[in-house]
């Protein structure tokens, strides 16, 4: 008797399973057809790092202080900066990131005292490694600024005429020696 009831209830459970799957069959699919469609990436997504810039002036926040490079446990950051003509502080001129080494640990972002770097939203980076192994973040910054219709900040430009007058303390606008 036990076998009979077991068989019967087992059979009913099979029918239930079939009913559930056929319901799925006729419901719309939820696939995003990836290369043709993409989902919006969450703001918090940790892509490789990128330079932030001042929304108004279009100038990068980075002062080439090298703190991030020192904070990085994987030594992926190599950067350089100059003191532009007629400016008080330094500005980054090259910011190289070896992304193959980066562990996306975010220590550089946390270490930066000037809030100058952030994680980007780029996720589809599949390519031959040496195409993105060394990222030039300054170039990326320039591209991004150009894309929003601003002119990227050029640290090598001669100081504007008004600038020395406003800041007499600034000495001769000679590029500083590389640190």
């Amino acid at each position: 008797m036990n076998l009979v009831t077991e068989t019967f209830s087992g059979f009913l459970s099979l029918i239930t399973g079939l009913r559930i799957t056929i319901k799925q069959f006729f419901s719309p699919t939820i696939t995003t057809h990836y290369p043709h469609q993409t989902l919006p990436i969450a703001k918090k997504f940790r892509g490789h790092i990128e330079l932030k810039w001042n929304e108004e002036t279009g100038k990068p926040n980075c002062t080439a202080c090298n703190i991030c490079a020192k904070a990085c446990p994987s030594d992926c950051i190599v950067l350089d900066g100059i003191k532009p003509a007629g400016e008080k502080g330094k500005t980054v001129t090259s910011y190289k990131l070896d992304y193959t080494l980066c562990s996306l640990c975010s220590l550089c972002v946390e270490a930066c005292p000037f809030d100058a770097i952030q994680h980007s939203n780029r996720y589809n980076l599949a390519s031959v490694p040496n195409q993105w192994a060394n990222m030039d973040l300054v170039q990326r910054y320039k591209d991004q600024v150009t894309r929003v219709g601003k002119t990227p900040y050029d640290p090598y430009a001669p100081a504007p005429a008004a600038a020395p007058a406003a800041e007499p303390a600034a000495p001769a606008p000679a590029p500083t020696a590389q640190p």
């Binding site: 399973g17 559930i20 799925q24 069959f25 939820i30 696939t31």
Partner: protein, 369 residues
């Protein structure tokens, strides 16, 4: 010139030969197209059951996926493992694809769409169907791979276990219909769908009155048993112990690659087609519309068009069954081997024996009074 050649081949004694060749070609195309596109159906179905779209990239709706798969398989090198029995190793895929091809010759797709009207068509289909087991056994054996041999042994015990209830069930059908001619069995199911063997067994509506019980009170159960056995015989999920790709690598096919494996794969689908066609014929009235005898006679009076519509009904039923096979595959997990054998020996065989007994008693009873 062409006309005379045409006439030469379309008049007796050569017409029989031409007809056979035409059917042969037709069946080969039918099997190949089915094997290829059932894979597509399977993938699409698998996708939809999991709320994915299935293949979409190759061609519209992924329709070029099967040719792409075929080209991929053909481009691979055929390799037999060293030390294996080469002849048996390559004979196995051929032996596994041949029976469904032969079986289809006896299967009536329509009013007079069949290659050979055999009086023992049913017997032929089943005897050729059982070659499948031997071919799998050979494949496993010739691979010189202990895992393949073990898997092959598993397949044999599975197929033997399920052959018994299947044949018992078919005997019940033969007892009710009194013939092994598949066309004859279909003709007997003419009229409404209540005349189909799946229901006719309960109550023979055509006769009316007591004493006209169709013979098999458990006909729907019989159909269910046949269907389950068909799944097991064709090694389909949830009984796909032969392959079990996730657990057993590929079971008996472990050593096969390229088109060697592809042929096993195609044979699986060809066997499903044969199995579902058989289920359609034995239980669901074959090419009968099931819309009442009036519609049936109307169809026969329409000649070719009626035949085509009949074939359409046949395919509709057959492909519904095939769809249900896919449906079941993507619903149930693979059974354990004990469960599989228990199901057959402890449940299916006793029930089918019981239906057999019941049928014979019910068929004899009216004659006693």
């Amino acid at each position: 010139m062409i006309e005379s050649i045409f006439k030469f081949f379309t008049t007796e004694p050569y017409w029989t030969l031409t007809r056979s060749i035409l059917y042969l070609v037709g069946i080969c195309i039918f099997v190949a197209a089915n094997a290829a596109y059932l894979v597509w159906v399977e993938r699409k179905g698998a996708g939809r059951f999991q709320r994915r779209p299935g293949p979409t990239e190759s061609g519209p709706w992924g329709l070029l996926q099967p040719p792409a798969d075929g080209i991929k398989l053909l481009a691979k090198q055929l390799m037999a493992p060293p030390g294996s029995d080469k002849i048996l190793f390559w004979a196995a895929p051929l032996m596994v694809i041949a029976p469904p091809l032969v079986c289809l010759a006896a299967i009536p797709f329509g009013n007079n769409v069949l290659a050979r009207d055999l009086n023992i068509g049913l017997l032929m289909v089943f005897s050729f169907g059982s070659i499948n087991v031997m071919a799998l056994m050979l494949g496993g054996w010739a691979s010189r791979n202990k895992y393949a041999i073990i898997s092959a042994a598993r397949v044999v015990s599975q197929n033997v276990a399920y052959e018994i209830p299947m044949l018992l069930v078919v005997i019940t059908i033969i007892m009710v219909t009194g013939t092994m001619n598949l066309q004859e069995i279909i003709v007997q199911q003419a009229g409404g769908f209540w005349n189909w063997n799946i229901l006719r067994g309960i109550w023979d509506f055509s006769g009316g009155g007591w004493g006209h019980i169709g013979g098999n009170l458990l006909a729907p159960v019989t159909f269910l048993i046949f269907y389950i056995c068909m799944l097991a015989e064709t090694n389909r999920a949830p009984f796909d112990m032969a392959e079990a790709e996730s657990e057993l690598v590929a079971g008996a096919f472990t050593e096969y690659g390229g088109m060697g494996f592809g042929v096993f794969f195609m044979a699986e689908y060809a066997n499903i087609v044969v199995g579902c066609a058989l289920a359609t014929i034995l239980f669901l009235g074959g090419w009968q519309s099931g819309l009442g005898s009036g519609f049936g006679t109307l169809l026969t009076s329409w000649g070719v068009i009626g035949t085509v519509i009949g074939v359409g009904f046949f395919f509709a039923k057959m492909y519904f069954l095939i769809f249900s096979v896919v449906w079941i595959r993507w619903t149930f997990p693979r059974t354990q081997f004990y469960g599989l054998l228990n199901l057959s020996w402890k449940i299916l065989i006793p029930i089918s024996l019981f239906t057999l007994l019941l049928t014979s008693v019910l068929l004899k009873l009216p004659r006693l009074f």
